[in-house]
Amino acid sequence: MAVEKRVRFRSWWLPWALVAPQLVIVLVFFFWPAAQALYYSVQQQDAFGTQVVFVGLDNFRALFRDETYLASFRVTAVFSLLVAGLGLSISLLLATMADRVIKGSGLYRTLMIWPYAVAPAVAGVLWLFMFAPSIGVVSYALNAAGIPWNHLLDGTDALMLVVAAAVWKQISYNFLFFLAGLQSIPKSLIEAAAIDGAGPWRRFWTVQFPLLTPVAFFLLVINIVYAFFDTFAIIDAATGGGPGKDTAILVYKVYFDGFKAMDLGGSAAQSVVLMSIVILLTVVQFRYVEKRVNY
């Protein structure tokens, strides 16, 4: 695909007029706030909230010494790995099955798509309802099977709840991409492998899976970013970050510290840390995807 176009229109003012709306919005609502986040991350409000003092990297140092912040890091890491890992494996399984059935893959696709449309906040409420210790259908079944369940008290239970909700929502997105990836593998490759004597299990691991690695990598990054950010609503709805801080992922903490605890500097510093992580992830992904596209 050409990166440049050979043909151009000539006008010195028109292109500026065309990009102006987006540029203005980006400048006002993106660059300006991002710059402010950077600014406030190196400032500290005094006890009365009337003055700000430049404190260099103190906020950052304080962050990384703060047990709760590090705990939040841990929670986020566990959470995103679980969400990405489970989300990818389950949807890969489903996509592989859907690719195998000649009739009906379209129907299954239609049936599996729509959790994408469910708002994370709503998903959080739904799963909360199913797992509510006293009235939830699933929690009842669990208790009946001898597995005690109370996500209001048990941090692990709470984490499992939000992981389940997050994975449930993300399955359709991953499924779509995996299915498209599988369907784009030339049938001749699979047939050649079959003639060579490889059974379906072997074929999957030696032919299909390797060819899916670009898609899988792309989805991995997307899922991790999703787990970092888009799950805020799920957590706020289902557990409110609790019990205690057991499900307070990084972005939740930013919100909490900034709006509930009113810690401007600390919250800004956290924002900056988050920004760096995302930039890193996106750059890695873009570099990798670009390389793949070029061959």
Partner: protein
């Protein structure tokens, strides 16, 4: 697939059906709950898995609010649904319009600073609103846009997914079309309107679905910047309804509201499914 193994095909179907059931289960529960009364849900443990007969009541209260027989005051969902609908539409349409223009400029014109402009827009891809919530809140507040539709929507139009997608698409349009148009005497905007836009309908449709859902599902941002209940989108409203604790919450109304909240995006996805899937997958490339 390649070999004819009926057993394997049956297994595949079973797995898929299981998958569909698991995916559908939460929504099924929600629907069931919305058809019962709050009492039934709380007192009958576990909740029955069959539809109840309170469906009209639940939805009536959910939509229009009022004082229920338990004495609690329910916020009507209808205004919230309206807020969600308007925001989602404004975000989707606004984003598409702006991005079409920017992508057109970046691809079809050569002007000084073009690369800089492109990268500036591209960087926004990397940082979702959740990362810059505090300062963006401050900016919106300073501009006096709290509790307004403008404040709800405009900051979310800043990201570049749409611009990027359109740019990729425009690059695949054959050069000869532009040349033929030039010979025909079409200026840039004429070309844009008569040739480029009609060719972009698939991308526009796919993006509309993605952005509508993105706008409809917004939670954190409205949470921060609306304090006026009349400006709450429905996804936010639902969360607020359950803050009373398991037993105190009128689950049937909550679930009815949840069903209502799920319908418009689901409709959009289902109706535009074909374009949406194609556009989503193509946008990765």
């Amino acid at each position: 697939m390649v070999e004819n193994r009926p057993a394997a095909t049956v297994l595949s179907h079973l797995t898929l059906i299981l998958g569909v059931l698991v995916i559908a289960f939460p929504v099924y529960i929600t629907f069931i709950a919305s058809t019962q009364t709050a009492e039934q849900i709380v007192q009958q443990v576990p909740m029955s898995l069959l539809p109840g007969d309170n469906i009209v009541n639940s939805y009536k209260f959910a939509l229009f609010g009022g004082v229920t027989e338990y004495g609690s005051r329910l916020q009507p969902a209808l205004p919230m649904l309206t807020v969600s609908l308007i925001s989602a539409l404004v975000i989707a349409i606004g984003k598409i319009a702006i991005s079409l223009l920017s992508a057109f400029a970046v691809v079809y014109f050569r002007f000084p600073g073009r690369t800089l402009v492109f990268w500036m827009i591209f960087i926004t891809l990397m940082l979702p609103v959740e990362v810059r919530i505090l300062p963006t809140y401050k900016v919106v507040s300073d501009l006096g846009l709290l509790n307004t539709y403008a404040g709800l929507t405009v900051p979310l139009i800043a990201s570049a997914t749409a611009t990027f997608l359109f740019r990729q698409f425009f690059l695949t349009v054959p050069d000869e079309l532009v040349e033929a148009a030039r010979i025909d005497g079409a200026g840039p905007m004429r070309f844009f309107k008569d040739v480029l836009l009609p060719l972009s309908t698939t991308s526009i449709a796919a993006l509309f679905v993605i952005q509508f859902i993105y706008g409809w599902n917004q939670y954190l941002w409205p949470l921060l910047m609306t304090t006026d209940e009349s400006m709450y989108p429905v996804v936010m409203g639902i969360k607020r309804m359950i803050s009373g604790g398991d037993a105190a919450t009128e689950w049937n109304s909550v679930m009815a509201t949840a069903m209502l909240a799920m319908i418009p995006p689901a409709l959009v996805v289902l109706l535009m499914q074909r374009w949406f899937v194609k556009g989503l997958v193509d946008s990765e490339k």
